[in-house]
Amino acid sequence: MADTGTTVMPRAEQREPGSGPAIRTRELVKRYSNGTLAVDRLELEVRQGEIFGLLGPNGAGKTTTVGMLTTRVTPTAGEAWVAGVEVRRHAVQVKRLIGVVTQSNTLDRSLTVQENLYYHGRYFGLNGREAAVEADRILEMVRLKERARAPVDQLSGGMQQRLLIGRALVHRPQVLFLDEPTAGIDPQARLALWEILRELHEGGQTILLTTHYMEEADRLCERVAIMDRGRILALGSPEDLKRSLGAETIMTLQVEPMSERLVAGLSGLPGVLGVERGPRGLDLYADGARGLLPRVVETALAENAELHDLSLAAPTLETVFIKLTGRDLRE
């Protein structure tokens, strides 16, 4: 996996395939005609062979970002390159280099499972024989060989999602875009899908996915950009992001009243790094849980505060998001 870390993007004509970042954006902006600023001067760089996650709540600008990178949304300003090709000026060329799975099920309902793959191959320049071979390869990969002749309507939701991903791979794209790939499918199907994505990753496929499931970003992605209101708030490997909190434990208290004195008291406890009002109560960031619990209870009692609930957790990407925005991912 080569990380060239280049800052200057060579022009498409000069670019050697297989060098440079898989995706790069510079000051990318999208303002819709109704005035909504969906993406705000986005700077992004995805390396070749990487699984990269855009994590954020609904409306963070993830889908718009993917839309701009996949030629479907025209940027208001800024530039974007996919596999070294500028997206706005060379849309058709970019379409050849990418595979896209959007949030909607865009399978061709008039065709069978196999035909969906076959005709996709034909659109991307394969002849009949090649397309049939590739279709077979993909059927195997997404474990749908037995359903090859079925109309797509007869597949379960998870199978359809697998077929959508498989179809996006028929033409061996350099970058695979997945917009909320596991939204609305059951947990078992989600695991099966992760498995496929891991295999692809091992084969060297560059993948950019968007998600609002922090678990998905955490378990699947090498690097994650946390996005909110059209901007990237933090970027790094899931471990680095969690470590950036500086805390090993997060204790969430549902307590009333949340007085200033209580907050001050809790902040002064040994091992507590910080106290913040989060969406689920008072969040205590601590460097360890040892001996903390009785002191917290004592402090609450001393302030005459009523403790309704208390939970302990290791930092997650969700806590990183809460720390950054003061809001839940699901809000």
């Binding site: 395939p17 297989g18 819709y32 070749q48 062979g49 839309g67 996949t70 030629t71 479907r72 949304v73 025209t74 849309a91 058709v92 060329q93 379409k95 050849r96 280099l97 896209v100 959007t102 909607s104 099920n105 865009t106 399978l107 061709d108 309902r109 008039s110 065709l111 035909e115 005709y119 996709h120 191959g121 034909r122 659109y123 991307f124 320049g125 394969l126 090649e130 390869r137 195997e140 990969m141 179809r167 791979l169 033409h171 061996r172 794209p173 350099q174 295999e199 692809l200 091992e202 084969g203 060297g204 496929q205």
Partner: protein
């Protein structure tokens, strides 16, 4: 699994870019042909039933029971062919398009194929164009064989060879416009408010010149593309009945292709690129 080395090369990179776009266009046509083959019987029925019933009732049943004119079949040949072309042309684009735009969102898949977005729209027009010509070919024998008195057909090959494709193009361009610009829920309304009046007032059941006694209607129907198609086909098949001047026919058809084509492609692009 044999998938994946790091040096993926995109399949189409082997072909010259311009050629690759043509290839993609043809592949989209093949996909449509596959679907049409699978649904050929419904296509035939949809095409044949309305003109058959019309010619059967007005050119066979009514004359037979002594209520209609025996020569009516001759007037109907051009008109019913024209109306079949326009109905088939509009439906062949607009109905699948409405479906692909709304609940299936399939259009996103076609739009991601490696050709310019307008190319996807043009492919829709071209494929439906072929369907529309096919409809004309299927309907013609009916119009000839069913009437009580065989219509006297005097084919003008050059006129037929130009009016037919132009008429089919006007229809499918209009279909693209309707399918792209209209909100899916309002499509039935559009069919009632636009398509039905167009076919009823399209010089189908009478030559346009015969409207001279209802001058306002004669002028008003000049905005109807079917008028030019029916009159052009009349010039091509039954010129002895009289027809609109060639210049008007071709001018009307070309204007129709240009206007509907332009607005159709524009509406399509607006719909898929934000």
């Amino acid at each position: 699994m044999t998938a994946g080395s790091v040096t993926f090369s995109s399949a189409t990179s082997r072909r010259a870019p311009r050629l690759a776009v043509v290839w993609t266009f043809l592949a989209l046509m093949q996909r449509d042909a596959r679907v049409l083959r699978r649904e050929f019987l419904p296509f035939l029925l949809r095409t044949v039933v309305q003109p058959f019933l019309f010619v059967f009732v007005f050119a066979y049943v009514l004359p037979k029971i002594g209520q209609g004119q025996r020569g009516f079949g001759e007037v109907l040949v051009a008109g019913l062919m024209g109306s079949s072309i326009i109905l088939q042309g509009i439906q062949a684009v607009a109905i699948p398009l409405v479906q692909e735009f709304s609940f299936t969102r399939e259009i996103e898949d076609r739009v991601m194929a490696p050709l310019p977005v307008w190319g996807v729209a043009v492919e829709k027009i071209v494929f439906a164009f072929l369907q529309s010509l096919l409809a004309a070919a299927v309907v013609f024998p009916l119009l000839y064989l069913v009437p009580l008195q065989r219509p006297d057909i005097r084919v003008q090959p050059l006129v037929l060879a130009t009016v037919l494709p132009l008429g089919a193009l006007v229809s499918t361009s209009l279909g693209l416009w309707i399918g792209s610009a209209v909100n899916p829920r309002q499509v039935p309304l559009v069919f009632s408010l636009i398509v039905i009046p167009v076919t009823f007032l399209g010089a189908v059941y009478y030559p346009w010149a015969a409207l001279s006694s209802i001058r306002w209607l004669q002028v008003l129907t000049l905005v109807n593309p079917l008028v030019y198609m029916s009159e052009g086909l009349r010039a091509a098949l039954t010129p002895q009945l009289g027809h609109m001047h060639y210049l008007a026919v071709y001018g009307g058809l070309l204007a129709g292709v240009a206007v509907f084509g332009y607005f159709g492609v524009r509406a399509f692009i607006r719909r898929v690129v934000s």
